[in-house]
C-alpha cells in the first residue's frame, strides 16, 4: 500500500512539474501574470511529493517489502537497519529518485531566497528547473521505476546490498555527490532565464555565483568521500583510479571551478558574459553525462547502449533537449552584449582567462580519455582497449603546474593592467624559504627526495606564500591582518586546500611502500623502518557475515600498536570481502590487508605505508569549506 502511495506521489510530481515547467508558455500566449505566480507554489509541491515518494521507498526498505523488485534486489532481512535505510540509493533506480530530490531541494531553496524578487526572472528560472525535474521523473517512471512490484510470486528473502556498499562513507557519498551534480542545474537555469529575459549583467553573475560555488563544494566533498571510501574499503590502498565513474565526477568539478572564477570577472568587470553562460551549459551537460551515463552502465561499452535501447535513447533525448535547446537560445537570443572593458596581458582578467582555458581544456581532455575506448571500439570493429592511469597522470601534471603558478600570483594582479610587480619578488622569496624548510623536513622524515616531491613542495610553497604568508608579512597591524583574513577567508581556505592536496598527492605517490608477503604465525616483516608482526588469527561471526581476523602488531620507533585486518564472508550473498586495517598517524598510514591461507598457520598479507595520504582529504575539506563560506557571504549580500 505504502509503495503505491509513493508511486502515486511520484506520478503526481511528474504532472505538477510538467505544468510548472511549461506554464511560461501559457503566460506567453495569454499575457496573464497568473501563470508566473503559480510556478513557485507548484515547485514546492513537486518538492513535497518527491520527498513523500522517497520517504515511502525508504519505509518499504525498512519493513523489508520484497514484493518490490528494487528492494528484493538490493536489501535483505539480515541487513542492519541503518544500511536498509541507505540501501534506498544503493542502485540505479533509487539513486535517480535521490538525485531528483536533491534537485528539488535546490529549486525550493532558490524559491525561498528569491521569492521577493523580479517575478519574471524567478519564474523562468524555476520553470527551467521544473522541466529538468520533469524529464528525470519521466525517465525514472518509464525506464527505471523503483516502485515496480514483482507479483504474484513475492520472494521471501532479498538478494542483499552489495557488501562493499555496506559502509558509512558510502551511504553519504551519493547524496553529497548528487547535491553537487544537481546543483549545477541552478546556474544553468539562471543562464537560460537571463538569456530569455535579456538580463545578462553583473546582477545575474552575482546571483549565479553562490550556486556554482555550492555545487562545486558538494562535488568536492562527494569526490573526496568516494576516494576515501575506495581507500579503506576496496582494500588495496588506492585512493584514485581514474576510472570512468571518478572521471565523470571530476570533469563537472573542473568546469564548475572554471565557472565560478569566470563569474567573478563577469560580476566585477562586465565581460566574459558569453563565456560564463557557455560554461554553465557545459557544466550541466557534464553533470547529466556524469550521473546518468555512468550509473546506467552505458559508459562501459557501446554495446550496452545498443542492448538497452530504451534507456539509451531516453537519455540522449533528454540530453539533446536541454543542451540543444539552451544552445539555440544562446545563439539566437544573444544580442551583442555591451560593457566591454579592455585589459592587457598583465591584468587580472587575463589571469582568470588563463585559469579558465586551463581548467576547461583539462576537463575536455579527461573526458576524451574516458570516452576514447568507446570511440575506438566503434571505429575498430569491436576491438576493446582501456586507457591506463598514466595517460591522465601525464595530462594533469603540466596543467596542475600552470594552475598553481597562477594561484600564487593571481591575487596580486590588478584589473585592466598590473603596474606594480613588487609582489613577485616577495612571493618568490617567501616561497623559496618555505620550499627549503619543507624539503629539509621531508628529507629528514623519509631520508630521500625525488623530482616529484620537489615539484609538489615547490607548488605547495608557491600557493601557500601567495595566498597566506604574504598577507601576514604585509600587514603591519594585527587588526589589518584579521580583516584581510576574514574578508578573503573562502578564497584562502580553498586555495590552501589545493596546496595541501597537491603536497599530499606528490608525497604519497613518491614515497609509498608496498609489499605482498607470506607470514607464518609469530613471524615479522620489516617494511621501511617498520616491523609488522603476525600475532594471531581467529574466526567469528557477526550479524550478517562470518569473518577471520588477523592480529598484526606494528612496531616503529615511538609506536607500538596492533591492528586487525579481516576477511569477511557475507552469508546471504556468499560474497567474500577483505576489510583492510589502517593505523593512521599524522604523517603516515599503516595499511594491512589480509590475503588467504597458504599453509598451516601461514597467510598472505599486503603491507603498505602511505605517507601524507590524509593531507589529500584534508585539502579537499578545506576547498569545500572555502566554497561554502564564500557562497554564504554572497547569499547574505543578495
Amino acid at each position: 500500500m505504502i509503495v503505491e502511495i509513493g508511486h502515486i506521489f511520484l506520478i503526481g510530481a511528474l504532472v505538477v512539474s510538467f505544468i510548472a515547467g511549461f506554464s511560461p508558455l501559457l503566460r506567453f500566449l495569454t499575457k496573464d501574470n497568473f501563470y508566473y505566480m503559480v510556478i513557485g507554489p507548484m515547485n514546492n509541491l513537486v518538492c513535497l511529493f518527491i520527498f513523500l515518494s522517497l520517504i515511502s521507498l525508504i519505509y518499504s526498505f525498512l519493513v523489508d517489502d520484497f514484493s518490490v523488485a528494487y528492494i528484493a534486489n538490493n536489501s535483505n532481512t539480515l541487513l542492519p537497519t541503518y544500511y536498509k535505510f541507505a540501501a534506498t540509493w544503493g542502485a540505479h533506480e533509487g539513486s535517480l529518485l535521490l538525485w531528483i530530490f536533491c534537485l528539488c531541494l535546490w529549486s525550493t531553496t532558490y524559491f525561498f531566497i528569491n521569492r521577493q524578487k523580479d517575478e519574471e526572472f524567478v519564474a523562468l528560472t524555476l520553470s527551467v528547473l521544473n522541466q529538468i525535474i520533469f524529464a528525470f521523473i519521466a525517465f525514472t517512471i518509464f525506464t527505471s521505476n523503483p516502485f515496480e512490484r514483482i507479483l504474484p510470486v513475492v520472494p521471501i528473502e532479498g538478494a542483499d546490498l552489495n557488501p562493499l556498499l555496506q559502509d558509512f562513507a558510502f551511504t553519504i557519498h551519493p547524496p553529497l555527490l548528487y547535491l553537487g551534480y544537481s546543483g549545477l542545474a541552478v546556474p544553468f537555469a539562471l543562464s537560460l532565464s537571463a538569456l530569455i529575459s535579456k538580463k545578462i549583467d553583473s546582477v545575474w553573475a552575482r546571483e549565479a555565483r553562490p550556486w556554482s560555488l555550492l555545487s562545486s563544494g558538494f562535488l568536492t566533498l562527494g569526490i573526496a568521500l568516494g576516494s576515501w571510501w575506495a581507500y579503506y574499503e576496496l582494500g588495496w590502498g588506492g585512493w584514485w583510479f581514474w576510472d570512468p565513474v571518478e572521471n565523470a565526477a571530476f570533469v563537472p568539478w573542473l568546469i564548475s571551478v572554471a565557472m565560478f572564477h569566470s563569474l567573478i570577472v563577469t560580476e566585477k568587470r562586465g565581460i566574459y558574459k558569453n563565456w560564463s553562460i557557455l560554461l554553465s551549459i557545459l557544466a550541466f551537460a557534464a553533470s547529466i553525462l556524469g550521473t546518468f551515463l555512468v550509473r546506467s552502465g552505458i559508459l562501459t561499452s557501446v554495446h550496452v547502449f545498443a542492448l538497452d535501447p530504451e534507456r539509451g535513447v531516453f537519455i540522449l533525448a533528454i540530453f539533446s533537449y536541454f543542451i540543444l535547446g539552451s544552445l539555440i537560445f544562446y545563439s539566437f537570443l544573444n544580442n551583442k552584449l555591451p560593457g566591454r572593458s579592455t585589459y592587457n596581458l598583465t591584468s587580472k582578467e587575463f589571469g582568470f582567462l588563463l585559469n579558465n582555458i586551463l581548467l576547461v581544456i583539462l576537463a575536455l581532455s579527461i573526458m576524451f580519455g574516458t570516452l576514447f575506448p568507446l570511440i575506438y571500439e566503434a571505429l575498430n570493429d569491436g576491438d576493446q582497449i582501456s586507457v591506463g592511469a598514466p595517460y591522465y597522470e601525464i595530462l594533469i601534471l603540466p596543467f596542475a603546474l600552470a594552475l598553481s603558478i597562477l594561484q600564487g600570483v593571481g591575487l596580486y594582479l590588478s584589473w585592466s593592467s598590473t603596474k606594480q610587480f613588487n609582489f613577485l619578488n616577495r612571493v618568490a622569496i617567501e616561497s623559496f624559504s618555505i620550499f627549503v624548510i619543507l624539503s629539509l623536513l621531508v628529507f629528514f622524515i623519509f631520508g630521500t627526495l625525488s623530482w616529484g616531491t620537489f615539484l609538489a613542495i615547490a607548488m605547495f610553497s608557491w600557493i601557500f606564500s601567495g595566498n597566506l604568508v604574504d598577507a601576514v608579512y604585509q600587514s603591519t597591524q594585527l587588526q589589518e591582518l584579521k580583516s584581510i583574513l576574514i574578508k578573503r577567508f573562502g578564497m584562502i581556505s580553498a586555495h590552501l586546500g589545493t596546496a595541501f592536496l597537491i603536497l599530499g598527492v606528490g608525497i604519497v605517490t613518491t614515497f609509498s611502500l608496498e609489499r605482498d608477503v607470506v607470514l607464518q604465525k609469530g613471524e615479522s616483516y620489516k617494511l621501511g623502518s617498520t616491523h609488522f608482526i603476525f600475532k594471531e588469527i581467529q574466526e567469528a561471526k557477526r550479524l550478517n557475515y562470518s569473518f577471520q581476523s588477523a592480529d598484526i602488531e606494528i612496531r616503529e620507533e615511538g609506536l607500538i600498536d596492533q591492528i586487525s585486518p579481516e576477511k569477511r564472508n557475507y552469508l546471504s550473498s556468499n560474497q567474500v570481502m577483505t576489510e583492510a586495517a589502517i593505523k593512521p598517524t599524522l604523517l603516515q598510514d599503516y595499511y594491512v590487508t589480509l590475503g588467504e591461507q597458504v599453509g598451516d598457520g601461514t597467510w598472505t598479507f599486503k603491507l603498505q605505508i602511505k605517507p601524507f595520504i590524509r593531507w589529500i582529504w584534508f585539502g579537499a575539506i578545506l576547498i569545500a569549506l572555502g566554497t561554502f563560506v564564500s557562497s554564504y557571504r554572497y547569499v547574505k549580500r543578495l
Partner: protein
Amino acid sequence: MNRLTHYLPLALFIVLVLGLFTFLDREESDLRSVLLNKDFPNFSLSRLDNAEIITKDDLLELPSLLNVWATWCVACLVEHPFLMELKNESRIKIYGLNYKDDRNKALKLLDRIGDPYELSIFDKDGKLAIDLGVYGAPETFLIDNEGIIRVRHVGVLTPEVWEQKFNSVLSKLKEDEK
C-alpha cells in the same frame, strides 16, 4: 566575426550529436552476424503467457522465424501487420522473443492488436537475446529444419525485406528438402 562565434557552440554540438548517431548507425550496419549458419543457442526460459519453462526443443515447427519484439519498441508495431499477414496466409510459423519487457503489458498488447506468434518466449533479462547477439528490437531470424540460423535481419521486417532476404533462402530450403 562576432555573430559567427555565437553560432559556433551550437554548430559544434550538432556535429557532435550527428557524429554520435553515425557511430551508432555504423554499429548497426557492421553487425558481425556471429551466429549465422550456426546452431540456434540453447535456452531455458518461461513462456510469455504462462510460467511453463520451454527450451530449444519446444520450437517444433521448423523452418520458422524468430522475431524479437517488445511493447516499448515502436518499430515493432510497424512490422506487426506484416507478421499477421505471414501468419494468416500460413506462409511460415513465427516464434516471438519478448525482449526486456513487462509480462502484463506484453500480453495486453497482443490481446489488443492480435498475436502473430505460435508462442512467445519471455526474456526479461535478455539472456537468450545476448546469446543471439541481439542489438535491439525488432530483429528477425530464420531458423531452418535443422535448427540452424540462416538469415538475420536487424530492423523492421517489410515485404521487400522478406522478398529479398528471407523468401529466396526459404524456397531453397524447401527445394533441398524435396
